[in-house]
């Protein structure tokens, strides 16, 4: 989501906030789902909708504090970010990551990805 521009030290500055699903530890959407369509995958914690089980009651949409589940008027069911788990299972990146034009988005284990940020920060503050 684009926020701004705001004036920061006289310059226009824009924030682009990436808002996919947080894939909560204890997702409210899963608890709210009456049919078990909304599930949390045991092996990696991805929260997803099993389309065959979804009855389109919109409970998940009202339950999520961040408005992640969306209504698909064409199917009459809920959809949400599942990190493109079909792609992830094939060893591919989620579509949003492989698509990001300027390569801002990365996908991987949190422990691995913090290294990227730490490396970058180290380069910034290094003095010679």
């Amino acid at each position: 989501m684009a926020v701004g521009p705001k004036k920061v030290k006289g310059m226009p500055r824009m924030a682009y906030v990436f808002m996919p699903c947080f894939h909560c530890e204890e997702p409210w959407c899963v608890a709210a789902c009456p049919t078990g369509a909304m599930q949390r995958r045991a092996k990696d914690g991805i929260v997803f909708v099993e389309q065959d089980l979804c009855i389109g009651c919109k409970s998940c949409i009202t339950a999520c504090p961040w408005g992640v589940p969306q209504w698909n008027p064409e199917t009459g069911k809920a959809v949400k970010c599942d990190y493109c788990m079909d792609r992830v299972d094939q060893g591919l990146e989620p579509a949003c990551v492989s698509k990001c034009i300027t390569k801002c988005l990365h996908f991987g284990e949190a422990s691995e990805k913090t290294k990227v940020a730490r490396d970058r920060f180290a380069k910034e503050i290094a003095t010679f």
Partner: protein, 660 residues
């Protein structure tokens, strides 16, 4: 993954399978633009067109046929078709794009803007005048510029509003509309006064430095400040800062510079600043694009070169009446003038290929009036364009996914040949353009100029005399003609095609035609009370005017808004999101649109994204959504920069009021 697709690229599939695109040839039944079409076979359409063309050529000569396209590397076949029937009247869209830049480059270097490309990879300071690199998006370039920022390089961005590029820049100057030229004069003054230029480079290559010095003497930073609204102190600081990074600096001379009446001079002075910084053929500056010949490879064969040049003069006067205007693609607005006056001779047929002049040149109503003198208007396109809807015959051309094109040369540090190969079969009855023009040529009995039956045969002929084979394209779709990037010694080996062999501050080509090379500055008129200058630009999710009806892109951005300065909006009682009425200066066009109220646009200007406000009812998604800047540019069809030739599209004033 290295390559990325932008939103428009990803939406290609949605375009391909969209039902709302021309599916079969159609011939107009009712009045032009009334939308009463008859579906016909290709046989019927082609015989209709060729019979009309035959009659026109018989009566008025081949010169009475004009054709326009949107330029690009795949023009050989349709340009050859035109030449084969004896017409010199090839045009492209460039009078609404880069003509001023092209002519600015020719006046200094003796060759056009594509002589150079930009070495963003090594650039330390990039200066952009409304060149909105992160929204008028080229993926590879955007990444190189993001990396420039990442390694500590700087961007100075100059515009009448804060774009997606401004928000990433290190310096943003929101200047008064139309005063970029004044800013450049102030910078040049400072650079020369404070000896901030590359003296060795200038001494070696520049002709006319003293004339330049004399000319800019009155244009102090303090003077420039009054014109532009940018503090003089900042202009001086900037000049010092950028000189420190020279020669790895780029003053981008612009791309779409069909803006103001002085845009030619803005672009020319940006080029001059590159020269003063010595950034020509310097790493991180502007490099010469090397051709196959420069690396010892023969150029691709071109059909056009096998045909004699037409005897008749161009109808627009480019190259003879207006000697300082390049004759290649001419100036399309002057075609309209010739159509209106039937002078120096009548134009009776106009073939519009993959181009939409009614949406890109100003004042569609004035254009339609000029078209009344045509006996035949043919549009060839893979989508419904505004011009196609107004045509006599609409031919569905294959999309870029459905056709193979002629091989293209990519000049650069590593010159290459490129192949665009058909990926899928054309849907419905669409045909590739090479087939359309070849078939027309056959019917007009000039088919012998196309001695090939399919595109592969043509490719083989293009490659004759080179060592490159068709199979070499198999892997990547392009063949690099050298392993290493080619750089020339910038102090020894540069060649300029000017009469003097140097970079000419005072250009003989302009002088001889009564056009000043160094034009005394004239302040742009302030819009009258209650009027605003209408600026337009691009969104990263739409491709000019081509994608407003794309199912996916329409969903992301269904309509445009009008940006208006917050203080001005307050005076008019307009708040964010209000519906407002916009009216052209002569009152002939008016429409409503949502307002975007922001401090990030100059108070003299309002802005909208280009390409909306569409009137083709068969495009149900884009139909009548938002407003089209081109419809407000009434009376501007013949208003153009006399030195550069491009239309002055931003010399357009509108009024705004809260819609009732």
């Amino acid at each position: 993954m290295a390559g990325r697709l932008c939103a428009k690229g990803s939406a290609g599939i949605a375009m391909e399978y969209d039902y709302e695109r021309p599916q079969h040839p159609m011939i107009r039944q009712g009045e032009r633009g009334a939308g009463e079409w008859q579906r016909v076979s290709w046989e019927e359409a082609m015989s209709y067109i060729s019979e009309k063309l035959k009659r026109i050529i018989q009566e008025h000569g081949g010169k009475a046929v004009a054709l326009s396209d949107r330029g690009g590397p795949f023009r050989d076949i349709h340009r050859s078709f035109l030449r084969a029937i004896g017409s010199p009247n090839y045009f492209n869209h460039d009078c609404t794009c880069a003509r001023n830049v092209q002519h600015a480059a020719i006046s200094l270097f003796g060759s056009g803007r594509k002589t150079f490309n930009y070495d963003y990879k090594q650039c330390k300071h990039l200066v952009l005048y409304g060149r909105n690199v992160f929204e008028s998006l080229r993926v590879k370039q955007a990444n190189q510029i993001v990396e420039l920022l990442d390694r500590g390089g700087k961007i100075t961005y100059i515009d009448v509003r804060a774009t997606g590029t401004a928000v990433k820049a290190n310096r943003f100057w929101m200047l008064r509309p139309g005063t970029d030229y004044a800013l450049n004069l102030g910078i040049i003054h400072t650079v020369l006064r404070d000896n901030l230029y590359d003296a060795a480079f200038v001494a070696k290559w520049v002709e006319g430095l003293s004339e330049l010095e004399t000319f800019v003497a009155p244009y102090t930073p303090e003077w420039a400040s009054q014109e532009t609204g940018i503090p003089a102190r900042e202009i001086v600081e900037f000049a010092k800062e950028i000189a420190e990074d020279a020669p790895s600096v780029i003053f981008h001379p612009g791309w779409m510079k069909a803006r103001y009446l002085n845009s030619f001079y803005e672009s020319r002075t940006a080029y001059i600043l590159n020269v003063l910084m010595g950034s020509i053929e310097a790493p991180g500056g502007l490099f010469f694009q090397k051709s196959p010949k420069d690396v010892g490879v023969k150029d691709l064969n071109a059909l056009l070169d096998t045909l004699p040049k037409p005897k008749d003069k161009r109808v627009d006067g480019c190259g003879w009446k207006y000697k300082h205007f390049e004759s290649g693609p001419g100036l399309l607005h002057l075609l309209y003038e010739a159509m209106e006056r039937q002078d120096p001779y009548p134009i009776k047929a106009y073939i519009v290929y993959r181009h939409d002049p009614l949406l890109s040149l100003p004042d569609p109503e004035a254009q339609k009036k000029a078209m009344e003198n045509l006996d035949l208007l043919v549009a060839i396109d893979s989508r419904y364009s505004e011009t196609g809807w107004h045509a006599d015959v609409l031919l569905p051309s294959a999309t870029y996914l459905e056709k193979s094109s002629v091989l293209a040369t990519g000049k650069g540090l590593k010159p290459q040949f490129r192949m665009r190969k058909q990926a899928i079969k054309p849907r419905n009855e669409a045909k590739p353009d090479w087939w359309i023009f070849k078939s027309l040529a056959d019917r007009l009995r000039v088919g012998d100029v196309f001695p090939f039956s399919d595109i592969e045969e043509f490719w083989k002929w293009q490659l004759e005399g080179t060592d490159v084979r068709l199979a070499d394209f198999q892997e990547k779709g392009f063949v690099e003609l050298t392993d290493k990037p080619v750089w020339w010694d910038r102090m020894k080996d540069l060649k300029f095609k000017t009469p003097s062999g140097k970079i000419e501050m005072v250009a003989s080509v302009l002088d001889e035609n009564g056009i000043p090379s160094l034009k005394p500055y004239e302040s742009p008129k302030k819009p009258a009370e209650g009027f605003y200058r209408l600026a337009f630009g691009r969104s990263p999710v739409h491709n000019h005017g081509n994608t407003m009806n794309n199912p996916v892109l329409h969903e992301i951005m269904p309509e445009n808004q009008i940006w208006i300065n917050a203080d001005e909006a307050k005076k008019l009682g307009i708040s964010e999101g209000d519906r407002v009425r916009v009216t052209s200066s002569d009152g002939t066009h008016s429409g409503t649109i949502r307002a975007h109220v922001t401090e990030w646009i100059h108070p003299e200007a309002v802005f909208m994204v280009h390409g909306f406000g569409r009137k083709v009812p068969w495009q149900t998604r884009g139909y009548n959504k938002g407003l089209g800047d081109y419809r407000f540019e009434s009376g501007l069809l013949h208003v153009y920069d006399p030195a550069g030739g491009a239309n002055a599209l931003l010399e357009c004033n509108v009024t705004i009021e809260k819609a009732s």
